[in-house]
C-alpha cells in the first residue's frame, strides 16, 4: 500500500525544512550555567507563586514556586545554589516576569527523593497525575499547556485515542527528532503511562516522513516491546504538527470550530512531554532540563543542547561558539511560529524548543503592498479560514465581521503570511483582531 498518499490535512505549505544543520548531531550536554533565572510564568494559565526568598539555599530539583491554581504548575530550581534575587527579569514571551534568580554553587546537589521506582506502572492514576503536576510538566512542544490538565478531561468526555506528536514540522528545529533517536525507550515508557492515565485503547506516534531514521527506531522499539501502538508516517507539510491538523491526519476526525481535541476523543502530547512524564512518574524527577536546538546561520556552531531550564540565552550562545557579526534576528522556537527576542538575558523556559539565529539578509523585511486577491492564503489556511478577508476587516477595524468570519479559530501558524505575494502582515493583523474581539466579548460579558 506504499503507493497510497500519506496521511495529511487540507491546506498547508512546504517551506524548506533547513534541518540539515543539526539533525545528525547528537544531543550535547551544556555545562552548568553560573546562574539561572526561573520565571513564575512558564506555562499557560495562572502564574505560580514563589516559595523561596533571597538568601535561601536550594537544591537542584527543589520546588521554588507552587502552582497558583488547577491550571498551573510549579517550577523547580534547576541547579543547586543560593537564591540571589526574586525580581522582574526579561522573559522570552515579552514583558518582564517575576523570576527567581539562583546563583550556582557548582555542585548540582539533587534533592534526595529522586529515585527510580520499580513498580511505577502499577501506581494509582491519581498518584500519577499528582506526580505529573508536582514535576511541573507543561507541554514541551512550545504551547506549554499544563500536562496534568490535558490528562484530566471532564467526566462527560471519553478519550479514545492518544496521539504522541513527533512531527516537528517547524523548519530548523531538531530537538524532538534527536530525542526520538536517542531516548526512544523513554518516550515509549512515557506513552505506556499516558495510556494508563487516560485509559485509552489506541495510541499513535505521528512522525513526518523527513525523519525516516526516527520512524524506523520507534517502529522497531514498539514491535520489540509488543505494545499495541502504531507509528504513523505523515506527509511532510507545515503545520502538520498542529494539534487539530495532526488529529485530522491520523484519525480523520475534525475538531469542530471553537472546540478542543477532547471533544473528538483525542489527547495529543509532544514526544518530549512523554519522556518527561516517564521521568516524573518513575523517578519523581521534576522538569529541570530540556533539549534546545541552537541553530541558524548566525550561530558559529549549531547544536542540539541538553540544558537546564533558566539558562540565559547568552550563556547558551557562548556554548555554541557565539553569535556571528551579521546577526539580524534571534527567535525562540521555529521561524514560522517562534517569537523574536529583544534580550539575550531571557532564560530557556519549559517551552523553548529551539533558538534560531537569522543573519541580517534572512531577517530583512519586505515592503507591504496591496492585496491582489490571489487567494493563495485561502488555499493554504489549514483551518479553512479566509485570511485575506480577516486582514481587511481588521485593517478597517470591523471586528464584528472578523468575528463572524471565525477569526478566533486562527491558530496563528503563519502559512498565509508565508505565501502572501504582497507581504501583508496577516498574522499580526489577525492576532490584533483576535485580541480586540476577545476584549469586546469580555466587555459584553
Amino acid at each position: 500500500m506504499g503507493f497510497l498518499k500519506s496521511k495529511s490535512f487540507s491546506g498547508g505549505i512546504h517551506p524548506p525544512d533547513s534541518k540539515k544543520g543539526t539533525d545528525q548531531k547528537a544531543i550535547e550536554k551544556c555545562p552548568l550555567p553560573p546562574f539561572v533565572v526561573i520565571p513564575v510564568q512558564q506555562h499557560i494559565g495562572a502564574p505560580s507563586k514563589p516559595i523561596v526568598q533571597k538568601g535561601d539555599q536550594v537544591l537542584s530539583g527543589q520546588p521554588v514556586t507552587e502552582s497558583g491554581g488547577f491550571v498551573s504548575v510549579p517550577s523547580h530550581a534547576s541547579i543547586s545554589g543560593t537564591v540571589t534575587a526574586v525580581e522582574m527579569r526579561p522573559h522570552p514571551l515579552g514583558a518582564p516576569v517575576l523570576s527567581i534568580v539562583i546563583e550556582s554553587d557548582g555542585q548540582d546537589n539533587r534533592v534526595p527523593d529522586i529515585a527510580y521506582q520499580d513498580d511505577y506502572l502499577n501506581l494509582d492514576k491519581k498518584e500519577m497525575l499528582a506526580r505529573v503536576q508536582s514535576a511541573g510538566l507543561a507541554g514541551l512542544g512550545g504551547a506549554t499547556f499544563p500536562t496534568h490538565v490535558k490528562l484530566s478531561p471532564p467526566p462527560d468526555k471519553t478519550i479514545e485515542i492518544l496521539i504522541i506528536n513527533g512531527v516537528e514540522c517547524e523548519p530548523y528545529l531538531t530537538s524532538d527528532h534527536r530525542l526520538m533517536l536517542e531516548q526512544a525507550e523513554k518516550i515509549v515508557s512515557g506513552m505506556q503511562l499516558l495510556v494508563k492515565i487516560l485509559g485509552v485503547k489506541k495510541a499513535y506516534i505521528g512522525i513526518e516522513k523527513n525523519k525516516p531514521d526516527a520512524i524506523r527506531i520507534m517502529q522497531g522499539l514498539i514491535a520489540k516491546s509488543g505494545l499495541p501502538y502504531a507509528v504513523v508516517p505523515l506527509h511532510v507539510k507545515y503545520p502538520q504538527g498542529a494539534e487539530k491538523q495532526l488529529i485530522k491526519a491520523i484519525t480523520g476526525r475534525t475538531v469542530p470550530a471553537g472546540r478542543l481535541p477532547m471533544d473528538v476523543g483525542c489527547v495529543v502530547q509532544n514526544v518530549g512531554t512523554a519522556a518527561a512524564v516517564y521521568d516524573a512518574i518513575a523517578f519523581r524527577q521534576p522538569l529541570i532540563e530540556r533539549v534546545v536546538t541552537v541553530t541558524g546561520k548566525g550561530v558559529k556552531e549549531t547544536k542540539n543542547v541538553l540544558t537546564r531550564i533558566g539558562t540565559p540565552f547568552s550563556y547558551l550562545f557562548e556554548f555554541c561558539g557565539g553569535l556571528a557579526e551579521d546577526t539580524g534576528k534571534i527567535i525562540m522556537g521555529g521561524p514560522m511560529m517562534g517569537l523574536a527576542q529583544s534580550s539575550l538575558e531571557a532564560p530557556v523556559i519549559k517551552g523553548t524548543s529551539g533558538l534560531l539565529v537569522l543573519n541580517e539578509h534572512d531577517s530583512r523585511r519586505f515592503k507591504e503592498s496591496v492585496c491582489i486577491s490571489c487567494a493563495r492564503c485561502i488555499d493554504v489556511c489549514p483551518m479553512g479560514l479566509l485570511p485575506k478577508m480577516l486582514g481587511a476587516y481588521v485593517k478597517a477595524e470591523y471586528f464584528d465581521a472578523a468575528k463572524k468570519h471565525n477569526i478566533l479559530d486562527c491558530i496563528e501558524c503563519g502559512s498565509c503570511a508565508y505565501v502572501c505575494p504582497a507581504h501583508i502582515n496577516l498574522v499580526h493583523l489577525i492576532k490584533y483582531g483576535k485580541s480586540q474581539v476577545i476584549k469586546s466579548m469580555k466587555k459584553a460579558g
Binding site: 522582574m88 518582564p96 523574536a340 534580550s343 499580526h428 492576532k431 490584533y432 485580541s435 480586540q436
Partner: protein, 279 residues
C-alpha cells in the same frame, strides 16, 4: 395635440391622490408618540457621539435623559452649559456639574528620553504593538508612541509631537475619556482642571530598572514625599509611585523643583505662584 396624454394624467393624478390620502391616513392612524423634548435635547447636545455619558450616542443619551434614566449632567463634552439647558427643558433645578476635567499624558519618555528594545515594523497601532513582545518600549509602562489615543479622540484634541508623544490640546479636550480607555498602557488619565501639577510617569519600577530604560521616569526616590518638601503630606507614596492627594497645594511646586528625575509636569506655567522676593 395628442389627446392620449389626457387620460394618462387623469389616471396617474388619480392614483397619486389616492395613495397620498392613504399615506396621510396611515400617518395619523399609526403615528408613534415622540417626546418632543428628545428632539430639543438632541439639538443642544454636541453631536460627537463620544459615548462618555455611557450611551452609544447623543440621541440615545437624549432619550435616556428625557425618560429620567440618566441625569442631565452626564455630557462631559457639553459641560455646564448643556447641563443647564437640558435641565431647563426638563424643568429640573439644582443640577450640580462635576468638576471640569481634562485628559493628561502621564508619560514623558519620548524618542529622546526612553529606550526602545526592538525595531517595530508592524501595524501602526499601540494595541497591536503590545502583542509583540509586550511592546517596543524598554519601559513596560511607557507610551508606545504609535498614536492610538490621537486616532481615537473624537474632538481632534490630541496630536503626536516630534518626540513621539501625544499632546492634549486642552482648549479642545472635553474629558470624554475615550483616550483613557484606548491606551493599552493606562497612560491617559482625566484630572481636574484645577490641578496644575501631575506626575508624568506610571512606572512601578525602582531605580536601576527605570534608569536603564528612561531618563525622565520616576524611580521611587521618595524625595517629593519627605516632610522637608511637602510638610502637609500633599503627596503620598502608593507602591513605587507618589500620588498627589491635595491637588491645589502650593507645596507641589516645591516637589516639581526637587524631583531629581523631572517626572512632574506643570500644565500651565503661568499659574505658578510667584515667590516673594528675598530681601
Amino acid at each position: 395635440m395628442d389627446p392620449l396624454f389626457i387620460p394618462s394624467i387623469i389616471a396617474l393624478g388619480g392614483m397619486g391622490l389616492l395613495f397620498g390620502a392613504g399615506l396621510a391616513f396611515a400617518a395619523k392612524k399609526f403615528a408613534v408618540e415622540v417626546d418632543p423634548r428628545v428632539a430639543q435635547i438632541i439639538e443642544i447636545l454636541p453631536g460627537a457621539n463620544c459615548g462618555s455619558c455611557g450611551r452609544p450616542g447623543c440621541s440615545a443619551y437624549a432619550e435616556a435623559v428625557s425618560s429620567g434614566a440618566l441625569p442631565p449632567n452626564r455630557c462631559t463634552p457639553g459641560g455646564k452649559n448643556v447641563a443647564e439647558r437640558i435641565s431647563s427643558i426638563l424643568g429640573l433645578v439644582g443640577v450640580e456639574m462635576e468638576e471640569p476635567k481634562v485628559a493628561v499624558v502621564q508619560c514623558q519618555g519620548g524618542k529622546n528620553e526612553a529606550v526602545e528594545k526592538y525595531l517595530y515594523e508592524g501595524i501602526h497601532d499601540c494595541n497591536a504593538a503590545v502583542l509583540i513582545g509586550g511592546g517596543l518600549k524598554g519601559c513596560q509602562y511607557g507610551c508606545l508612541g504609535l498614536g492610538s489615543c490621537v486616532k481615537a479622540c473624537p474632538f481632534d484634541a490630541m496630536y503626536m509631537n516630534d518626540n513621539g508623544l501625544p499632546v492634549v490640546i486642552e482648549d479642545k479636550c472635553t474629558a470624554c475619556g475615550i483616550c483613557v480607555s484606548t491606551c493599552p498602557r493606562g497612560i491617559m488619565r482625566l484630572i481636574s482642571r484645577n490641578q496644575n501639577v501631575f506626575l508624568g510617569c506610571v512606572s512601578q519600577e525602582k531605580l536601576k530598572a527605570v534608569k536603564s530604560v528612561c531618563t525622565v521616569g520616576c524611580f521611587a526616590c521618595k524625595i517629593c514625599v519627605t516632610p522637608k518638601v511637602t510638610p502637609s503630606e500633599a503627596i503620598v507614596m502608593e507602591g513605587n509611585l507618589p500620588v498627589i492627594k491635595d491637588i491645589q497645594n502650593s507645596e507641589l511646586y516645591e516637589a516639581v523643583k526637587k524631583c531629581p528625575a523631572g517626572s512632574y509636569v506643570i500644565r500651565e506655567k503661568s499659574k505658578i505662584p510667584v515667590e516673594p522676593e528675598q530681601v
